[in-house]
């Protein structure tokens, strides 16, 4: 949660309107209710994993870009699966929040 809070802080500084959720179930609800322009998700999250979130987002919001933020070494197969589902970008941990901000800006442009 600390990392997501830090990312949220960084994005708010850039003027983005952000919505932070704590687990997979809340993430699916937020996709329906918040109508996001961009989704940033980890792969390993409570209740529903990142792949389920991506699959759900692809069905309901096929045009919304998704960025996966995870560690490549630990979940290589899952990350490959995420790419196959059509995610916009993958940022491996450890990461630089400034780099993330630049990638978000590029994707939303």
């Amino acid at each position: 949660m600390l990392i997501s809070s830090l990312v949220q802080f960084r994005l708010k500084k850039d003027g983005y309107d952000t919505f932070l959720v704590k687990d997979g179930n809340a993430g699916i609800l937020a996709i329906d209710q918040e109508d996001p322009d961009l989704i940033i998700t980890d792969v390993m999250i409570p209740f529903k994993n990142g792949i389920e979130i991506i699959q759900y987002a692809r069905k309901t919001k096929p045009n919304v870009p998704i960025i996966v933020l995870s560690s490549l070494g630990e979940e290589e197969q899952i990350v490959l699966e995420a790419f196959n589902l059509g995610v916009a970008d993958f940022i491996p941990k450890p990461f630089n929040p400034n780099e993330l901000a630049i990638r978000i800006k590029r994707i939303l442009q």
């Binding site: 600390l2 809070s5 830090l6 990461f95 630089n96 929040p97 400034n98």
Partner: protein, 528 residues
């Protein structure tokens, strides 16, 4: 005999108390002699079973007195009166002859129509009194003055024992004690669980609360301040982010350290350096170094992890002291930390280890060393001279895995001096690296009695053997009985000289040789 005695003692223990209670609850009048017996019987009502008669030695005189109707004559010339149920009746009847001094009589007792002595009657009466069959009351006139005098004679005895009467029964006492103990333990455990749970919940709640308090200031420091700014922050400015009150709380410091370490793992670049700077500015580095002298091994390991993650090079000398710790986790983490924070990684601290390296430790160190070899100079050769065999073996493995061909000659020079176990590891390294070495090393190994060494030499021969090796293998092949060893030798012979191998297979009729050949030619099995 001993069992019987034990039974008696046990019976005594089990029955003593109830008897005591019976006696203590009744004020029993015990008769001790013939006088007290006669006095008691004279004043008592009829006692079932007990009867009295008078025996006369001069029956003729009784007849003249007209008493014959109540007297029977016995064969031995004695006269015996009729049966009386009460002693008082006897005395009264005897009064009829009081004026005749010549008439001699004697009192006879009978129990259930059998003549008995007074002693028998005494026992019978006492027994009846004790068990309540004979009443203690007498036929004395019960006017008020008599009752008072009787009361004076009979001392007061309480029908209930005072004090700890309930606990005088050992069985009841034990059962009560067990129940009290069980209840006490249960209540104690429940109270402990409630307190433990309550403390745990409180800690969890505080952790969440501190997490929320940490996010804001940490974000501001990481995103709003440059490294230089962070370095030049005054103490007042720093405590503006994290108040001194909060920093005085151990749990807050623990949570903050955990969060900084977690972010350090997740972030890279300038953010990582800022986190390290912040760690030192908050003086957590001193806490980490201080925890190395803790008596709790988990705190020491936590301190080592913190030093490792935060690259606290100033702690190197303190960490070195823990390399030979008797605790597996401490020495493993100490070596891993030293590998990371040492400026020059000569691995001498590893070669001085007294404890054997486990496979897990080797894997862990190898992971770090592989990462370090690109930017730090590693003196792997220092491991070869270690007094610890597992360290020397690890050194040979490092040469193989890191591809340090430059160290092969050093290993060759040591080959004849080391035990067979190390020779196996060396030969495997020579084979994998494919570096030509003196064929004498392989040939001498093929002639030993150690099957594992012969097999390793045979396998290496295929890669680094020469003609002398080939000749030696052809020579020893007929003497080999082990299928695995035969397969290794034939595989190497096939690599060294395919023509001779083909010729050998064509002329040989042994079944196992044919099977090995089929195995070696099978594209799926040849590398198995």
């Amino acid at each position: 005999m001993r069992i019987n005695r034990a039974k008696i003692v046990l019976f005594f223990l089990l029955t003593l108390h109830p008897f005591k209670m019976c006696f203590s609850q009744d004020s029993i009048r015990s008769l001790t002699d013939s006088t007290s017996l006669i006095n008691f019987l004279s004043n008592h009502e009829e006692i079932p079973g007990l009867a009295f008669r008078l025996v006369f030695s001069t029956p003729e005189q009784l007849v003249t007195l007209g008493a014959d109707s109540i007297i029977d004559l016995t064969n031995d010339g004695l006269a015996i009166s009729r049966r009386f149920d009460r002693l008082a009746q006897v005395s009264s009847w005897k009064g009829n002859f009081a004026s005749h001094d010549s008439i001699q009589s004697k009192l006879q007792f009978s129990l259930f129509e059998q003549p008995v002595t007074w002693k028998n009657v005494l026992k019978f009466t006492n027994s009846g009194l004790a068990n309540g069959e004979i009443s203690n009351s007498t036929t004395l006139s019960k006017n008020s003055s008599d009752l008072i005098s009787m009361a004076h004679q009979a001392p007061f005895l309480s029908t209930k024992k005072k004090g700890f009467g309930y606990f005088s029964d050992i069985k009841i006492f034990l059962i009560t004690a067990i129940i009290i103990l069980f209840i006490s333990v249960t209540v104690g455990m429940i109270i402990y669980m409630i307190i433990f749970k309550s403390n745990k919940n409180k800690t969890e709640r505080l952790r969440v609360e501190y997490d929320e308090k940490i996010v804001g200031p940490l974000s501001e420091i990481l995103f709003d301040r440059s490294r230089q700014e962070l370095n030049s922050l005054s103490s007042e400015e720093l405590y503006g982010y994290f108040s001194s009150d909060l920093l005085a709380k151990p749990l807050f410091k623990e949570v903050l350290i955990e969060r900084i370490l977690s972010l350090n793992k997740t972030m890279k670049g300038d953010f990582k350096l800022k986190l390290k700077e912040l760690y030192k500015r908050l003086e957590f580095d001193k806490l980490s170094i201080r925890s190395l002298s803790s008596f709790q091994w988990d705190k020491v390991v936590s301190g080592l992890v913190q030093i490792n993650e935060m690259d606290l090079e100033e702690a190197e000398s303190d960490v070195k002291k823990l390399v030979n710790s008797s605790n597996f986790y401490i020495r493993s983490q100490a070596v891993a930390t030293l590998l990371n924070i040492s400026k020059s990684v000569d691995l001498s601290f590893l070669s001085d280890q007294n404890f054997p390296l486990s496979r897990w430790q080797q894997m862990n160190y190898l992971r770090i060393i592989r990462y370090l070899q690109s930017h730090k100079e590693l003196k792997v050769e220092s491991l070869f001279s270690s007094a610890n065999q597992s360290i020397r073996l690890f050194g040979y493995k490092l040469v193989r895995i890191l591809g340090r061909v430059d160290l092969v000659q050093l290993m060759v020079d040591r080959f004849d001096e080391v035990p067979e176990l190390e020779r196996i590891e060396m030969l495997y390294t020579f084979e994998i690296l494919g570096v030509p070495v003196d064929s004498r090393l392989i040939n001498s190994s093929l002639l030993t009695s150690n099957d594992k060494l012969i097999r390793r030499a045979a396998m290496a021969a295929g890669q680094i053997g020469d003609e002398t090796t080939e000749k030696m293998m052809w020579k020893i092949l007929p003497t080999i009985t082990s299928f695995q060893l035969k397969k290794s030798i034939l595989r190497s012979l096939k690599t060294l000289n395919p023509i001779s191998y083909e010729a050998f297979i064509e002329t040989n009729t042994l079944l196992d040789i044919k099977e090995i050949n089929s195995h070696l030619l099978d594209p799926l099995l040849q590398d198995v």
